[in-house]
């Protein structure tokens, strides 16, 4: 099950999903991002923790995400992520790329 969820996502799409989730609204912690992707995809994509946290840290190292510590609903400190300026630019680029891929895929599939 866990493997399936990960394999369902095209490579690179997880980054795009995380960035999109953080585009609007306040900073979110890891669990909220996971929930947002789950509900936002109409309960299609379940991101596992084993994929989410490495991705979050990778995006932070790349400078696309910033982070700060805040209090969570569970009454304990949690790490909140938000988009940086570089992250926003990357999101625009990644969205454009994705649109092109989706368009291409659709044309090919419908052509068949």
């Amino acid at each position: 099950m866990a493997e399936n969820a990960r394999q369902d996502l095209l490579p690179g799409t997880l980054d795009l999903l995380i960035l999109t989730t953080l585009e609007h609204g306040p900073a979110k912690h890891g669990y909220a991002i996971m929930e947002a992707i789950w509900s936002g995809s109409g309960e299609l994509f379940r991101v596992e923790e084993g994929a989410l946290y490495p991705a979050l840290h990778r995006l932070e190292v790349k400078g696309w995400l910033g982070s700060e510590w805040g209090m969570s609903e569970a009454n304990r400190r949690a790490k909140y992520y938000k988009l940086t300026a570089a992250g926003r630019k990357q999101l625009v680029r990644a969205k454009a790329d994705w649109d092109r891929i989706a368009l291409g895929m659709r044309r090919v599939l419908e052509g068949l």
Partner: protein, 907 residues
């Protein structure tokens, strides 16, 4: 946060990650509880959904970018632990590596300093030396005991140099070096022996050398009597430290060189030792010094004194070819100025056809380099072979270990270690060994290189090199290390991880091991091939050395001692010298234990030789080079003192008799036969040595070698010192009772002191020591090759034994079955013995190809031995084969003595 900050704050990052995950867990649990799950279940489910926290925490940490570093650290610690358990293996491989790397570094450092390192001057690539080439071909010289026809004259007369400096347009400037040597420098009352160079005033400015203190030689210093301040000299920074403790008072101080007063003008910049690698200069005199040191010598105008070696610095943008075009035009008018007198028309044409030529000389010029270059190339080849053997031996050891560790590797792979990780672990282990070997090797290289320099030069003249490490040495070391790690690390790692994986998964242990085994057999064949080259080389060099040691020199080498006192600098004037010499020799002859005593100009077998053309009434028609002979000044008693037998006639007359009678000479046997037909026929004949007066041959002495044992005994004329009484710096030769050398030499020292008023510098030599020391290079090479050969032989033998016992181990089952089916133990043993023999024979065959290819390499080092000497090569092959067979014997016997029942039960 950049990479470095993340590393430094690693612990904090770790804590934060922990906390982040804990928060996640709490949130998830809260959510489950809100959905109506019981609290205990919620906690369990949350943790369950989180999966293996450890794995993905590791993955998250990997994003920080230094997981590789951390696991490398792990690998190193693990590697050290594993190596620590196998002490024999570690010791053997460290020692082999240390020797391989040490020998390579030592030889390369020296070769670099002697052959390739640019001079520490400004833009050394612009420096050229000039020589005269296109010689008529009738000149010849003795070099290291061999007669050579030189291709060029290195020096030119001063007038030609001065004119060339004026006319040339290609060079920023020219400078000249008028030879160098050891002199006595008196500072106050203390005398020091230093190495001196006489150079033109343009030397320092053209080289672009600065001063540590004072000023260097400058325009005006070449003038008669020196510059404004009179004759001045420059000392090296090292000498400034040694004699003056870097005191500023040294500048302007008065010193005395060979009894002539000089002023120290300044100190050259640190690290500058002249432009002759291997011959360090500590004092530089300007050409003007010649006027005060040798007032009779008309060097400034003389066309005959070819005394100055010219160098130049090319102008920016001028190539050597362009400079040579200009020089080729300038040559003829310059040569016309210094035309030799008394040349025939044809000879004069040949003289004027000579050409000045520029040769790039950014590394300076040195006879030490010329002499030792072939030896260094040979040594580089030998240590290269040694390194290959050391590295492949390490490969072999690691392969054996990899096989032994197959179980461990299989477990690690099964537990999920990636191929790459196992691979890297094995690489790290070889890298650790390589590092350890390098450290030991560098330590060994330190004393190897200084010892080697001493050993190769003999006692004669020490070679001083600026052997500091530069980028070439570093690059070489990196290349050496790279070779070791690649040969010794990659191969076993590849075969180890592959073999391990196979055996873990498919249980095909045998096929995997067979691959390893043939690889190891190949390596051993390579070992044997290189060992044959080294052993054969050692055999040839040893044989040649034995020949040289036995070669008669013509002297009775035992029981005589040569003492050269520097009476001149100790206070005896040139005029008083002959009388002092006579008093000393007379006095010494009366000392107990002295059998004979005489003065001689040359000490045999130290490399000095002077040749002149002689004339005899019958030989005038012969061309000049046919009449070149070695001329030697001696006094009465010389032949008795050196043990050269007189074949006919009598000894030299004493000083008293010489003053009354005609000039007399004694000739060598080969000269007598060549010019007078026979030994007896020479007596009473007339002969004119060089520019001296005609003399009568009063005796014929047996042939003797003067320069080097290599040489054919030179045609020799002995003139009587008492006839002209001109030379100074003569040597007292004493034949003494056995075991009385000490007391006889001490007596001579007493008489020297008596004459000079104080004890002069005395250099003491014996013929045995001269023979020993003149063969220093040959001996060093022979012993080094022998050492390398024995080392290689040991490695090869252990390699064969190791491979065979491994093979026996691998084929226990097969052996057991065959024994059970009735094969005799002898037959089994023979099978493995034969394998050792096959390895030996194939290695020798490969080595023979290698040797054939390298056959010319040793020629210039071999004395009366052919490179194809059958005794040496058969000996080397037999030694190798015997070692291989012996090494194979132990495992073979073990195979033969296996108990079939036990083996089969165990399998």
């Amino acid at each position: 946060m950049n990479w470095l900050q993340r590393i430094l704050r690693r612990n904090q990052l770790d804590r934060e990650l922990q906390e982040e995950l804990a928060a996640h867990l709490a949130l998830k649990q809260q959510r489950l509880e809100r959905d109506g799950v019981a609290p205990e279940d919620a906690a369990r489910q949350a943790r369950h959904a989180l999966g293996s926290t450890v794995t993905w925490r590791e993955e998250t940490r990997a994003q920080w970018g230094f997981a590789a570093l951390e696991s490398l650290w792990q690998d190193i610690r693990y590697g050290l632990r594993v190596l620590g358990k196998d002490k024999v293996f570690v010791t053997v491989s460290l020692l082999t590596l240390a020797l391989g790397i040490g020998a390579n570094t030592a030889i390369f450092t020296l070769a670099n300093a002697l052959l390739w390192k640019p001079l520490p001057v400004r833009d050394p690539q612009e420096l050229v030396r000039l020589h005269v080439t296109n010689l008529a071909g009738n000149e010849y010289a003795w070099m290291n005991g061999r007669t050579e026809a030189p291709k060029e004259r290195l020096q030119i007369p001063y007038p030609m140099f001065a004119e060339l400096s004026k006319r040339q347009r290609s060079f920023v400037d020219l400078f000249g070096v008028a030879g160098h040597g050891q002199v006595v420098l008196n500072v106050g009352d203390t005398a020091h022996q230093v190495r001196m160079s006489v150079v033109s005033e343009s030397f320092f400015p053209t080289l672009g050398i600065g001063a540590s203190a004072g000023r260097l030689l400058q325009a005006g210093d070449d003038a008669p009597g020196g510059g404004v301040a009179g004759p001045s000299l420059v000392i090296s920074d090292a000498l400034w430290t040694r004699l003056f403790a870097r005191s500023p008072d040294a500048v302007g101080a008065r010193v005395v060189v060979e009894k002539v007063p000089f002023t120290i003008a300044g100190v050259a910049e640190p690290g500058f030792m002249g432009i002759h690698p291997g011959e360090e200069s500590e004092v530089w005199l300007a050409l003007g010094a010649f006027d005060v040191m040798f007032p009779d010598w008309k060097w400034r105008t003389s066309a005959e004194s070819w005394m100055l070696q010219p160098f130049g610095r090319l102008k920016r943008g001028v190539t050597v070819e362009q400079a040579n075009q200009e020089l080729s035009v300038l040559s003829r008018p310059l040569l016309e100025q210094v035309r030799e007198k008394g040349l025939s028309g044809k000879e004069e044409q040949a003289f004027l056809a000579m050409k000045l030529e520029a040769v790039p000389s950014g590394t300076g010029y040195s006879w030490v380099r010329k002499r030792f270059e072939p030896a260094f190339w040979m040594l580089l080849g030998a240590v290269g072979a040694l390194l290959l053997i050391a590295a492949t031996n390490l490969t072999n050891l690691l392969l054996a270990r990899a096989t032994a560790r197959r179980a461990e590797i299989a477990v690690r792979l099964a537990l999920g270690a990636s191929f790459g990780r196992v691979w890297r672990q094995l690489l790290v282990e070889s890298a650790l060994l390589a590092c350890g070997g390098t450290v030991l090797g560098l330590i060994a290289a330190q004393w190897l290189s200084s010892g080697l320099l001493r050993a190769m030069a003999g006692d004669g003249s020490p070679i001083r090199l600026n052997a500091e490490t530069d980028w070439r040495v570093v690059l070489f070391l990196i290349a050496v290390l790279g070779t070791v790690v690649i040969i010794a690390g990659v191969v076993p790692a590849w075969s180890g991880s592959r073999g391990g994986a196979l055996s873990a998964r498919v249980q095909q242990r045998e096929s995997a091991s067979r691959g390893t085994q043939s690889l190891r057999a190949g390596l051993i064949v390579v070992h044997i091939a290189f060992t044959l080259v080294l052993l054969g080389g050692a055999g040839l060099l040893l044989d040649s050395l034995r020949g040289l040691m036995r070669e008669p020199t013509g002297f009775d080498t035992a029981g005589s001692v040569f003492l050269t006192p520097d009476l001149f600098n100790a206070g005896v004037s040139a005029e008083a010298m002959p009388a002092a010499y006579e008093r000393i020799v007379e006095a010494v002859r009366r000392e107990p234990g002295v059998r004979a005593a005489a003065w001689t100009m040359h000490v045999p077998l130290t490399g000095t030789l002077q040749a002149f053309t002689i004339e005899t009434p019958a030989a005038m028609a012969l061309p000049a080079q046919e009449r070149m002979v070695f001329t030697h000044q001696v006094t009465d008693g010389y032949f008795q003192a050196t043990g050269v037998p007189l074949l006919a006639g009598s000894e030299m007359p004493s000083r008293l008799k010489a003053a009354q009678g005609r000039r007399s000479v004694i000739v060598s046997e080969n000269l007598a036969r060549k010019f007078f037909g026979s030994v007896d026929g020479a007596i009473g004949q007339r002969l004119k040595p060089g520019s001296e007066d005609w003399a009568v041959v009063i005796g014929v002495a047996a042939d003797a070698k003067y320069q080097h044992i290599w040489e054919k005994a030179p045609l020799t004329v002995y003139t009587n010192y008492w006839d002209r009484q001109k030379a100074k710096g003569m040597t007292l030769v004493l034949r003494h009772e056995p075991a009385m050398r000490q007391s006889v030499a001490a007596a001579a020292h007493r008489w020297f002191r008596q004459e000079a008023g104080r004890l002069p510098f005395v250099s003491t030599r014996t013929l045995e020591a001269n023979v020993w020391s003149s063969l220093a290079t040959e001996r060093t090479l022979a012993w080094l090759f022998t050492g390398f050969g024995v080392f290689a032989l040991l490695i090869t033998a252990t390699g064969v034994a190791g491979l065979l016992s491994y093979t026996v181990q691998l084929r226990r089952k097969e052996i057991g079955i065959r024994l059970a089916l009735g094969a005799t133990p002898a037959r089994i043993g023979w099978q493995f013995q034969r394998y050792g023999l096959v390895l030996g024979v194939s290695g020798i065959a490969a080595g023979a190809v290698l040797c054939y290819w390298l056959r010319r390499g040793l020629d210039s080092f071999l004395f009366q031995v052919e490179a194809s000497d059958p005794v040496v090569w058969i000996g080397a092959c037999v030694l190798l084969l015997a070692s291989a067979v012996l090494a194979a014997a132990i495992p073979s016997r073990r195979a033969a003595s296996l108990d079939p029942m036990r083996v089969l039960r165990m399998e």
